[in-house]
Symmetry: C3
């Protein structure tokens, strides 16, 4: 399967314009569209008043014109009536402030009432379109705008339940978190609060569990939808992951997805092609299988401080780069360029007057140039772990250190030597690679320590690897369990500015 | 009428010192004083307990010595007893935090209870001094310290009422705001909230209406006072506008004022004479008539990070610059230099011991040097619009772009070529100018588009002009309605860093 | 008395490890330990359930091995059960936000309920260990993490009571605070609030009283504990002051302490030996007597952005520097290096596996190198006053100006000329010095003005000295009361960038 398509918003246009759009899609070889992921208030303008006319007619028209449909569930944007009725759905940020209605992603994944409403609308979508559409996308960019993190009372209660499951007893928790330090011993589960705006540094073991819990909350919220959809539909299910995004354990999240999708925007202020490649490879490595670029930056975006334009040739190049790194498709975001809304400055494949752009033309041509591209055969494995990312965020010996940025530097160096790379996780097989790199791996899973010891090829390790256990304690002797293997013990260390 | 005077605070001194002050005024030709604009707690120390003795005696003494009085209504500083009784008067900032009592301007213009108290004290002032004093100033520096914006529940309710008047129906509002984007469709007026601390970018059409509403709120609050005063007094009414200040539509605010006044402080960290001139010209252009510099920086101020001193010659130069740009007077702030209070480091015309300074001496001499200065005859018109300023603040393609700063650069270039400039607004006549410049005018009023087409002289337009309609939507074809006139269409664009 | 010792946390270890620790202490000459200052939840895990086993056994074992004990009261860390029961204990920061449980110092010193609980646990400590241990430390680093300042309702009420004592009548307060400025006149004590998040600059006289009140609150809270301890124990009492710390008037706080202790960490990002010396000298100058470095940075710390390592020779050098400036001991923080908790990256005298480090070895050797060091004989006095520090923080003519930083520059210049320095306070005798410097002394106490006039040696004064009275008003004529003495009057001034 190859996917040539784009993201499309029929509800943003008068129905009379759809024909013109669809004719252009056909003219330029757009065979797939993703639609519907922000359409909740369109289909349910008041509580319980469903009106699927727009989606029904758009899907019918697209399908009858031979265009395949990826349908997104609309839970990233709870409608105004729902927030007005249950303001406790709104997330609370790290500063203790409610994040208000008026943009998107304004919900806590742990809100029980929101889970009910989200389940209900998902079920409506699944029942109605489960047979008709071709692929499902759950929600939109979980965790975008730092929304993985919410600290309201729902979140606190859910965190305590999560801790009860993990630790069983408070005694275990007190021991794991080292609460004897600074007199933080808990005598009742309900004493546990989020360390919001504390006078000084938080408990690093508690923080790691908070990062884990928040990631799990998004994954649970997604899986709830996956299960509902599977009751009504046997179409593949995906979610659009983000670039350089480390708040959610995507490896864990990807388990219940049929394939990984992601949104490929330029990650850094300056365009760095190899950094883009690192993101492609990470996405491919999550399931060690082809992925979909379900949103591809088309040219100018709207969310930077300075939003520059890009020649249309960039889009063609980015598309080819996706295929070269194992993509099964690259879909520019978005087909139609829109005059209103928070993304009004974002480029599209059409212009503001609905005319085709050079971007559309070159995207269309890139199709023949990507025919026959083979998937790369990786030779070098780089160990990566989302939990390490979180450990590196907490009270660091060098707070300027960025785990992923430094992993990317190693990735780039290896690619520049001409080798193909996979990122590998603790439970991956690594026998097929000829070289293994274990960079900045604060904690190395026990199972992976064994793999390192058995690895036939060269293993490279950096500073900081093997410094921590899974509770985020520093180990007694560094690198943990690998002193004999590498023939070196780290007895002291410090950061260099 | 020429106004030679200064700002004065009799209530800051023991009455025994007034004679010394007034003798110095007479000695140095100070014929006008502005007084009373922060005196509320002096005249009403407890609710309903009026004691006008200090103002009565000060005004009587000034008038009997031939000094004319500009009296300010004291509504910029609601007293402690009022805030304690009605804390809901306090404004709420963009972060959702109450702005507390303890400085000044601690009120929301939309608080109904505050409007009642403000009306009452204004009426007391107007009844008592309506015949006696010479000019009225309403409140003090509306919007200073970002107080145009308040987001409490009073403000929200007032905003909804304002929207009902503007749009009539929610259907109209939903359409104008493009609420179909990101599922923001409203089904009940009361669902509308301020987008405070939202996860990501706000609705740009809603934001523009918020800017308009907040500006209107200050204007309404002022006009309430204007109407009360007119019941008791036929003296001219003004308000002191601010330098480089764009939160309130001064063009609209100036309509009910008899003349424009403004407070001329150095706008930028480095002194830029032509930027000061641009402000003078903007103030003159609001009503196309002479204005009063009702507060003139005398030398050192107190509110900068580093408050440097200025030689007294600067005050003389600034005074002359005011006249050269069409001022009817320039009043240094303040006559008396004060040892206490939040402005204790601010310079005055006297020193801390009450002795005359060289500033007073040179200000006094500047009088003869400004005799006979004629008002400038503008030749070049630069289109300016407060609503464009607000559009440029919202989700910009280049968030570093500053509308007014860039207008000033054009103003400076024209002045350096030797031409006099007026700023012109959409409803101004422009026939008398030989050249018209329309810079960065996102939206150009329909009526002004017609004037551009009919203009006899050269018209210069820049990038970004004609990009938006009045709802803050991007137009289909750019520049809107002027493609034929200029013979160019903009089909794509981007920001340059 | 000379104190060779280190800070130690027996509760962080299984009792089985203590023997190994104590043997190492004896081997390396550690004769003193400070313990127990964060042990509240260990000894009172639930309200009223005391369990002193750990402290009892640790103290017994230490004492029986000839190691002397400094015991800290544990009030810096109220347990989770107490905060859950009385959340009003939590402090509120300058932004109006509650500072949550989850680190340390999460209490307002003005909370009445917290004072009760703090008194109770102090009494338990004092009763149990009053005879047994050797020195008391009250709490830990009062004011650390900006916790001198709290703005909750308890604090507001306490502030009003403090003001009543100081001013007697509102009339006096209104006059002293110059509340006629900006209409801030109070007609009822209860109208007084903290100027949190005000639209603009606060009342500078109110602010000075707030700084004084907050400092007094910490001092009162400490003195409450001092009095309780004295009922049960005749051992010396101290408190660990901080480096470069100016929120509390340490001169006033030191009065009820038997000697001054302080925590010597590198004050600035770059290590500046003379700045460290200035801190030693300030600590010595508080009581003009020897002080204890009760915590000495051992090498790497954990709380910087980039926590570099230091060769062990640094610890030896820092130790000797302490003695050369009049210390009676220098105790590295901490003996045991810990694998968990918010300070897990902080260095110690042992390594993570409990093995002695080169730091321990060199600290041990420094003992013989510090034998016979004599206390310095100061020749030059530099006038210093915590209240001046606070005045320099408020609405300054040059907000970049830092009082203590500039005092340190003068200190360094004098030391580089080869002279020993004391800091002197308003009530110190200054006859024994040959030179007096009065730098940046906004307000000079009346009693000290007399001393300046009578001083036999040279007196050097800088700009800004004598600008303010004790209410933080600018004086009429500058420098206040010293114009004749110095033969100069400052009639105008300004800041230089």
């Amino acid at each position: 399967m190859k996917i040539y398509g784009a993201d499309y918003y029929p509800e943003h246009w008068d129905e009379s314009v759809w024909d013109k759009h669809i004719n252009l899609m056909k003219e330029y070889g757009i065979e797939w569209v993703r639609i519907g992921e922000f359409a909740w208030a369109v289909v349910e303008p008041r509580e319980g008043e469903y009106n699927f006319t727009v989606l029904d007619r758009a899907i019918a028209k697209l399908k009858s014109n031979g265009i395949k449909v990826i349908l997104g569930t609309p839970t990233a944007t709870p409608p105004a009536w729902l927030i007005r009725k249950y303001p406790e759905i709104l997330p609370v940020d790290y500063h203790g402030r409610v994040r208000e209605f008026g943009s998107r992603r304004h919900y806590s994944t742990n809100s029980k009432v929101y889970r009910e409403y989200a389940a209900r609308i998902t079920e409506e979508y699944a029942k109605r379109y489960g047979k008709e559409i071709d692929i499902w996308q759950i929600d939109n960019e979980f965790g975008c705008h730092a929304t993985t993190y919410s600290f309201n009372e729902c979140d606190r209660k859910a965190f305590i339940e999560w801790l009860k499951v993990k630790y069983g007893t408070l005694e275990n928790l007190n021991k794991a978190w080292g609460t004897v330090f600074w007199s933080q011993i808990y005598s009742d589960w309900n004493e546990i609060v989020f360390p919001i705006n504390t006078p000084t540094f938080e408990n690093p073991h508690q923080m790691l569990d908070i990062y884990r819990f928040m990631s799990d909350s998004s994954i649970d919220f997604m899986n709830m939808q996956v299960e509902i959809i599977k009751k009504y539909s046997d179409k593949p299910i995906t979610h659009n992951f983000m670039i350089d995004f480390m708040d959610i354990d995507y490896r864990k999240m990807a388990r219940t997805l049929d394939f990984v999708s992601w949104d490929n925007y330029i990650a850094t202020v300056d365009y760095d092609p190899l950094r883009q490649a690192a993101n492609h490879v990470l996405m491919r490595s999550l399931k060690k299988s082809p992925f979909l670029v379900i949103e591809q930056q088309p040219g100018r975006v709207n969310w930077r401080e300075v939003n520059e334009n890009y020649d249309a040739e960039f889009l063609a190049m980015w598309t080819k780069q996706g295929y070269l790194n194992g993509a099964l498709g690259v879909m520019p975001f978005r087909f139609d360029q829109i005059r209103f809304g928070a993304e009004q400055y974002h480029g599209g494949l059409l212009d503001y007057a609905g005319r085709p752009t050079k971007r559309l033309e070159l995207y269309s041509k890139s199709r023949q140039e990507t025919e026959g591209i083979l998937s790369p055969k990786p030779e070098v494995a780089i160990y990566f772990d989302y939990e390490n990312e979180w450990m590196h965020r907490i009270n660091h010996v060098n707070r300027k250190f960025k785990y992923w940025d430094n992993i990317v530097e190693i990735f780039k160096a290896v690619r520049e030597l001409g080798y193909n790379v996979d990122f590998v996780f603790g439970d991956d097989d690594i026998e097929k690679y000829h070289t293994l790199i274990v960079p900045y791996a604060f904690n190395i899973a026990d199972s992976f320590v064994k793999k390192i010891k058995n690895f036939k090829g060269n293993v490279y390790m950096t500073c900081m690897s093997g410094l921590k256990d899974e509770k985020n304690w520093i180990v007694e002797r560094i690198p943990d369990k690998l002193i004999d293997e590498f023939g070196i013990e780290v007895t002291d260390f410090g950061a260099i500015g």
